[in-house]
């Protein structure tokens, strides 16, 4: 078995605040439609939450999955299974030896709804009423396990947990599985279903969330001077990674090459980014070097850009630190301005966007910028989406997570 194989992307799946599928999501993204809405759930007022909006799924999972699937999986795993099935069908549901098909699906938080529902059940109704599937529903690897069941994948099912970098790190795990010969195909991505009052309360107490309650649609505004925090989102993004020779042999449609990955950790603070961006820039440089790319090859960056006051500047600094003047040629998109922040699914969904941007040579705009922050030294696409050059191009996806996790990966045109 060769141990340095090229890896390509042959399938895409997603369920997001912008749409129940990849085509619906991509169309809304290019149209600049925001996904955040005022929440109508009773718990918003019950707990007097300081934030009253979020970006919920455009198509509820109950419209896609069976009643039994909804009952036996936490929303976290439900979203992953929906996206994985779409990605697998999009790849042409290839015939493959199950022992050569892997899964890598990460999450930031896991089955928080199940954990807290079952805790309530124990306290209010006693141990006999606790659901026997409580543990397999709340465990963070529930999504990767359920995806492996749904697709019959037996090369290994992995779950990376690195907060908001989880989805990107999973794609890196899948890439490494194929590159090093452990699998021929890997279904990889991230999922999150954590729009739960405890998450609002926790993030709100950190002052991490936008409190623009009177205008949910304009609350996620990366790079604007008046940005005041991120907007909670939910959903999943999943891709099918495949060894290039395997994809070519079966005549698969290839979106792009998954070209390289870089990872680092800040060891600076449990939540605050290291302000000079040393760790983040190392991850970016490694993502290029491992792919044999030079900074001049990168025409587009899908930034992490969550719309927090310090995070957006730290990333901008890190990009400049990594690429210097070459960063001038990189068209930057902050797609969280539309999707909200999908936490453990964010890097995966943005990975889908980065792949589509290279495939269609079209980079999405960042919406809600009315007063561009002069501290951001990046070419941020505003207003209309932008065409990317012809010829060989490459793009970079950045994802960072609480805990100091930095994950960057590169995608090349084929």
């Amino acid at each position: 078995m060769t141990t340095d194989r090229r890896v390509v992307v042959t399938g895409l799946g997603a369920t997001t605040p912008l749409g129940g599928t990849v085509p619906a999501t991509w169309e809304a993204l290019l149209a600049g439609k925001p996904g955040a809405r005022t929440l109508t759930e009773e718990w918003v007022s019950t707990y007097d939450l300081p934030v009253t909006f979020a970006a919920r799924l455009a198509q509820p999972a109950s419209e896609v999955l069976s009643k039994v699937e909804i009952r036996r999986m936490d929303p976290n795993a439900q979203y992953a299974v929906i996206a994985a099935r779409e990605a697998w069908a999009d790849a042409g549901a290839p015939e493959v030896d199950p022992a050569r098909l892997g899964v890598a699906v990460g999450t930031g938080i896991g089955g928080v709804w199940t954990l807290l529902d079952q805790w309530d059940t124990l306290r209010e109704r006693g141990v006999r009423r606790v659901y026997p599937l409580a543990v397999p529903m709340l465990m963070p690897n529930s999504a990767s396990g359920n995806v492996s069941l749904a697709l019959g994948a037996r090369a290994g099912a992995h779950c990376t947990v690195s907060a908001c970098a989880s989805g990107a790190e999973s794609m890196g795990t899948g890439y490494e599985m194929i590159r090093t010969g452990r699998a021929d195909l890997v279904v990889a991505g991230g999922t999150e279903g954590a729009i739960h009052p405890i998450c609002f309360a926790g993030f709100a107490q950190m002052q991490a969330l936008s409190t623009r309650n009177d205008s949910p649609e304009t609350a996620s505004r990366p790079y604007d001077t008046t940005r005041d925090g991120f907007v909670m989102g939910e959903g999943a993004g999943v891709i099918v990674l495949e060894a290039e020779e395997h994809a070519r042999a079966r005549g698969a449609r290839i979106y792009a090459e998954f070209a390289g990955i870089g990872m680092s950790s800040d060891a600076h603070h449990i939540t605050a980014p290291e302000p000079e961006g040393a760790g983040a820039s190392r991850a970016m440089v490694e993502a290029l070097e491992s792919a044999g790319l030079a900074p001049q090859d990168i025409v587009h960056i899908n930034a992490h850009a969550t719309s927090t006051p310090v995070g957006d500047i730290a990333e901008s600094n890190a990009i400049r630190r990594a690429f210097g003047a070459d960063a001038d040629q990189m068209a930057v998109s902050a797609t969280k301005s539309m999707t909200g922040h999908l936490l453990g699914a964010a890097g995966a969904l943005e990975g889908v966007f980065t792949i589509l941007a290279v495939h269609h040579r079209l980079a999405p705009a960042t919406i809600n910028i009315t007063d561009f922050d002069p501290a951001i030294e990046l070419d941020v696409i505003r207003g209309e989406h932008r065409a990317l050059p012809s010829g060989d191009i490459a793009a970079l996806n950045n994802s960072f997570g609480f805990g100091g996790h930095n994950v960057a990966f590169t995608v090349k045109s084929v």
Binding site: S66, V68, R71, P132, L133
Partner: protein
């Protein structure tokens, strides 16, 4: 008040359907929960607890292994209803 076996079977079939998605018609007296209906031990626990609530009986954990077929469960419930 004791229910007829048919009433208990119908009620049990609803519980099985809710937990597993199996068609209620497939839940017949002679069917084995594990062999015929492919119900695992986790689902069986949920079915037992829901049956306790629905039929007003206590089904001890040590009794569950004796409930091999749907008929075993229907008869146990019928015999233990107050």
């Amino acid at each position: 008040m004791a229910q007829s076996e048919q009433e208990i079977l119908a009620g049990l079939a609803d519980i099985v359907n809710e937990e597993t998605g199996l068609d209620t018609d497939s839940v017949q007296m002679d069917k084995s929960f594990t062999e015929d209906l492919d119900i695992d031990s986790l689902s069986m626990m949920t079915i037992v607890v829901n049956a306790e609530d629905k039929f007003g009986v206590k089904i001890p954990d040590e009794e569950v292994k004796n409930l091999v077929t749907v008929g075993d469960a229907v008869k146990f419930i019928g015999a233990n209803q107050s």
